[in-house]
Symmetry: D2
Subunit: 468 residues, 4 copies
């Protein structure tokens, strides 16, 4: 269950709407699944940037309606992110907003730079100081140090220096600029609500505010939204597109359209393909909620075995649940899921999940299903073994913790105590995820294949592959 993976971020921006901060709030709310631990909004009233940021869910950080009074103006950008705890959490909240020689500047970033550490060291050597541990602060320093007059030129310059995955939304007093890296790792879409332009990580954010989808921001595109309207620019660096295949498998919301395809449909096809590749005689198909649901429906359709919601999710589970510390037991996955005995008892059960990360959660779920009376438990995963860490924006555990990096499928099957375990092949995934105008291998599937589309500094790589 990919719950153990953390999204890097979600982005939202709007220009020229008298409810800019409010709509950004709603947009972030729809993107909450992309980062649950901190969030923030920066607004511009044309002459000044103001910010409200904090650790917590969007609904919590913006619980007091009065905060919107402190975010006046007709343009705004917002960000949701995962983060660590304590003040380090507080200090890494985005968007980052600073004053520099040309006024105010706010930047929010989704992704991960592979040369951030090198760039940071360079900047520190030149006297830069850092208040956070984010790549975003590196980008802001680069933008501020560049002496070129035009901000657009400076951004273009900076994109020749930074390497990796980055979607950026940049806000100044008078402009909103959206940038997507040449590889186009993560999604970024353009929409319109009334006469105002909107950018967002996923279309579900457009849906909530009743904006219409216009088009994707292209890989390698920089889009300026200002009083003059839209202006599109090409970034100097070129690359073959390599969109993140995991956005389809786990990250994006099923109701979003990502890279031109609806995520629900892709997952359904992953499930169908999985049923073809790893068939099994069974009585019932049960998804591991919620990410496995569409794949399980596809699996059921293909196999003809009935689909049932045999594991109920507790809808009140959130970041806020604190297990009583004195507890003699660890409740773990039981807090989130409870089996429906009637659906399971005496049955040969197929569990459909999107991935296995450490294996510990899968093991608990298999055990839970057996205790509910399953005669057999067959685990089917709608992606290949996740053997390699991600360096482009997904917070995978380090490599040693990825069970697939060191164990065979048979060993994993033994560990999680399932009767059989089947993974979808990489070819099968590519087939299901195929995009209108790209070749089947035009994805970043490094987490499965180890083929990293953007190289990273040699020493770092070894270090990271070792550490991760």
């Amino acid at each position: 269950m990919a719950d153990e993976l953390k999204h890097e971020c979600g982005l939202f921006g709007i220009y020229g709407h008298r409810e800019a901060a409010n709509l950004t709030y709603l947009g972030l709310y729809a993107l909450q699944h992309r980062g649950q631990e901190s969030c923030g909004i920066v607004a511009s009233d044309g002459s000044r940037l103001t910010a409200h940021r904090g650790p917590g869910l969007v609904a919590d950080v913006f619980r007091n309606p009065a905060v919107f009074n402190s975010l006046p103006g007709q343009s705004a950008i917002g960000h949701v992110r995962y983060s660590t705890t304590g003040e380090s959490g507080a200090k890494n909240c985005q968007p980052i907003v600073v004053d520099y020689s040309r006024g105010g500047l706010a930047v929010a970033h989704n992704g991960n730079l592979v040369n951030a550490l090198d760039l940071r060291k360079d900047l520190e050597r030149q006297g830069s100081i850092f208040s956070s541990s984010t790549d975003t602060e590196v980008i802001i320093h680069l933008l501020a140090r560049d002496q070129t007059e035009s901000l657009l030129e400076r951004i273009r310059n900076v994109t020749t220096v930074i390497r990796g995955a980055y979607c950026l939304v940049v806000l100044t007093e008078s402009r909103l600029i959206a940038v997507r890296d040449p590889n186009g790792f993560h999604p970024l879409v353009l929409g319109k609500v009334g006469n105002s332009h909107v950018v967002a990580s996923e279309t579900c954010a457009l849906d909530l505010i009743e904006a219409t989808y216009v088009r994707d921001i292209e890989p390698g595109e920089m889009l300026e939204i200002s009083e003059r309207g839209l202006r599109s620019f090409e970034l100097p660096e070129k690359a073959a597109p390599s969109p993140c295949i995991f956005e389809f498998i786990y990250f994006a919301r099923p109701d979003s359209t990502v890279f031109g395809r609806q995520v629900y449909t892709v997952r359904q096809e992953l499930g169908r393909q999985l049923a073809k590749e790893c068939p099994v005689e069974a009585d019932v198909i049960i998804p591991v909620p919620d990410s496995g649901t569409a794949s399980a429906i596809g699996f059921a359709e293909q196999s003809g075995i009935p689909f049932q919601l045999g594991l109920m999710r507790n809808h009140y589970v959130g970041r806020t649940f604190i297990e009583p510390s004195q507890s003699i037991r660890h409740f773990g996955v039981k807090i989130k899921l409870n089996p429906v005995r009637d659906v399971i008892e005496g049955k040969r059960v197929v569990l459909v999940d999107d991935s296995i990360v450490r294996g510990t959660t899968s093991r608990k779920i298999v055990k839970m299903v057996r205790q509910a009376g399953a005669k057999e438990v067959h685990m089917r995963i709608s992606s290949p073994p996740t053997s390699f860490p991600c360096f482009y924006g997904i917070d995978t555990p380090n490599r040693k913790e990825l069970i697939s990096s060191s164990h065979s499928i048979e060993e994993i099957n033994n560990y999680i105590t399932s009767d059989t375990l089947g993974y979808l092949s990489l070819a099968g995934v590519r087939q299901a995820c195929r995009m209108p105008e790209l070749g089947l291998s035009d994805f970043c599937d490094a987490c499965f294949s180890g083929r990293y589309p953007v190289k990273f500094p040699k020493l770092d790589t070894e270090l990271q592959l070792d550490l991760f």
Copy 2:
């Protein structure tokens, strides 16, 4: 969508466990769907009762682990409830705990008394004072005024005076007593964890704490749990059992076993029966999440039309979402649900829901599905029209707001703008909900039939039927 209906309450109690308050917390967490607006726990350490209560979700009210230090002891009871806002919310938190001539007494109540107002007036005439507007406080006054020595006798006496629906958990310094009214309107189950006995409104609370289900508390049973173990007593008043059929249709969690049957299975059968009674040519079956899901699966199975999760629920929706007040638009159901366009576009869609209350939400959902490109929208409801208010514990809107009380099915179909609208017959519901040892009509189905198993004071009734 029955989201507009509010549960009265959920109950939990545990005796003789060194983690009594912690397990009560977990039990309430599993029962959160039965009441989201206030909650509380009272614990006993053998000589003193202590309480922590407040408005909010369980995870919020008990967020600070230190509160458990103020709830020492090996027995505890807990309560979740819906409530109104402001201090009136605060003052109605349960369990209610008082001191009286025989020591401390805490009571939590699930249900609604039909003669509470009369009893309250009588008590006030005799000089009783009231700090809340709950029936529970009426019950406590009656218990305190009765001069009989034995608490068990006093409870029996009080049950001859109160009329309506009541599950009670009562805690004293040394005992836990559970009571279920003679009609057995609402569920109450007995479980065991280690050597400790547990009572709870639904079995899902037992599952979470890994307690085993022992049996239902019977209609008309009073169960004492103390150092001497279990003692069961019959209440003096007798009645034909009339369990609330709406627990199956909407209230209970699908993974709970209620009145002897697993809720998921019952709902699946409701869906199958609905498909038989109201068939329709269509391309896809889509549940209105979450209560319509199991019925929709049943409908799909019976009809052979594919099941798809075509409406995505936002998982971060909670009580805490505050729409920006300055908003120029009302976002309403969009905050909760978003359509999956691929699943809907160009399709003849069957929406399966559990009920239609006011009709306004259904109308919005139909509109949303049409905007997502549906060719036809057929609404199918897994219960009969809800034409009568509930006086036994469900907070229905007043009668005039129940669209079915004054409109024909055709009128409702027009109002919600569906192509066709079909309701399951009462006979069909009874068939699907049939219980092992009861006749088919042995339910309280007053909300559909207007046949109220417990009569209420004449004037009140007229007043209430008029008002409600």
Copy 3:
């Protein structure tokens, strides 16, 4: 230093002012010294009572201006009190407000009933239930049980049953009633702001809202304020007045006029008298802030020895200061006071304080003054030894903890390590506190003399004298 004693309460009430709740808030703010641990306001809009109460200082409990919107209406009463911690703190907040047979009723109480426990047991025997441990709830029960039609009559009846010290403010939908016990233990004054009448425990509350002082509510008087204006009634029970002499010595604010005399002036005279009775050769007179200041000025005037503020009080000390728990030292009185070395070094110092309770604080202060270089330290107390507990509203420690109850002055002098220790005689106190129309011994000075003006149930007394 009488900081170790806790006031029972402060009262405020206003009738017929469109800012009733706001002015009550300000009034409570001025009375904050009479109770720092919980507070509350109940307002009436003519047809309904609403309340806001909570643990904490007035400025904290009413920090959110929105609470005033929930307290509409033109009359209101308020209360500040000391209280214990945890939920027991929350549940004892006043005013208490209830519904009973005749509508809503709110009562706030300053004082202590000597027969509260007996009355409570009686009431419990008759079936009353209690949600708090306050005397106020006893009084409300008595008011609700009395079948007499007129509220004023019922209050009169209740005052024949309750014994001890009580100032009451009572609010109904349409009236405000103020009551002072026949002994007149604690102060209660009547004022006027515009056309509206105000009652308050001390005149400093009138000053803050710019109300003019009209007169004291008399001992044994019940005053009704309603649409008809003021109506005064005599209570049935008569007693010789016995105002609490400790209000002068420590409780009331120096800028208040209490029992007809300004507190500052009385304290100044206490100091002069003390200088006459216990003279000492010294270089400087230093008050223990803040209660000893006026007495120290009087002492300096009489003795001709210079007055200096040689102990500085930290103005940010409040209930909120939490000593770091891991601390290796206990900072105690240093958090509150710091010596001014120049004023003390090499000097023969006279410290003037109002009382010695346990002796521990005095001992720390003497030590602190010696460490600052004092050559001699002479302690002078502006009242006699506090040897007896108070049963009329002051939360004295139990008798065994009152150092004077078991130690001679010489022993106390040794314990607190002063060079000499002098107490003012009871005769001296009476002389300084003399009131315009009362005899010199017409005070309650039981804490010094053991002569209790209102007797209490025999068993209780022994119990209490033993326990306290």
Copy 4:
């Protein structure tokens, strides 16, 4: 009443104590009068800096004892400051802590740089970005950009660039460095508790933690505290010392020893001198609390007129008092002060205050004293007219708001409605404040004289003199 002036800051630092963060908390608590609107602590455990900062009083920001767990280590620095509201308040909290090429660095600053704006513009031109509007961030940028290897050298270099008033405490993983500007505008003292060294803005912080005073940090001194012990360095820039005379008059706590003299004693002398220069026939001397108290005692001693505390201060006044917004009246100074009628009525009153800033508060106090029955009101100010703004760390209102900058003493007397008004002469102030080893005119008394010891950029000056 100088309550209208705001201190810039208070500093504290400790090295080599296992309770570093706790003692810093206590130290800041004692320095709370130097800044009430935000505070913070940075601690070092030898390899990492951690911070906790926020808007609010020390007791509020550090209310949760758990924050101390996040501040491990044996050295720490802390800061209290005034600040503006909203996020701008949050973002300006100090100490500022950053990562740069050489590790972590935290800086807290008391004072004001006259060339901060110029330096900031230079830095921005070179690409620096700013997250706050503090001078401290300018200093950190300068420290980070300097390529010199040694931190001590870099600090020395930076002090050749910055101009104005600055006391700094700097914390790295392994060292604590304290710096006082060559003019020595503001105080900074060195103390010792056990084997650990402490620095603090005032000695009252040493007193609270029971540290002994060692000596003042000298003007132009940089002191390093590390494993090697203490090392003292001279700053390259030299200047004639010019300690801020207003520290004596108003800012420092009376129990502190500042610039070698106890503040209480200085103020007493100011009062004596004032009585000599501006005698008046009167009946009573009353201080405006709290800053006027010691001067009033001196005035009374010199004049032989009795001293009385005729204005009572409300001890619960804090930053948290919020006047009900719907209020029809503005309560202003009444919230803080209440007259003692007995002391005032029929008397010729001398009010002693430290300064008059805008005049509005003085006017209200005079009015209040007259309403309490004073026959005459004579205002005596223990300093000369405050005619010039401060550019070295005191947040004076702009010049136009300083009533003395544009009005004669007679006009001010008329405005505040006193019978007579007398100011102490500058010569008199200097005499009272004389320091052991300095000449009488070796103060910064620019606020009185307009003679600014450190010049500022011409344009800025004009701008500021105009604006301020």
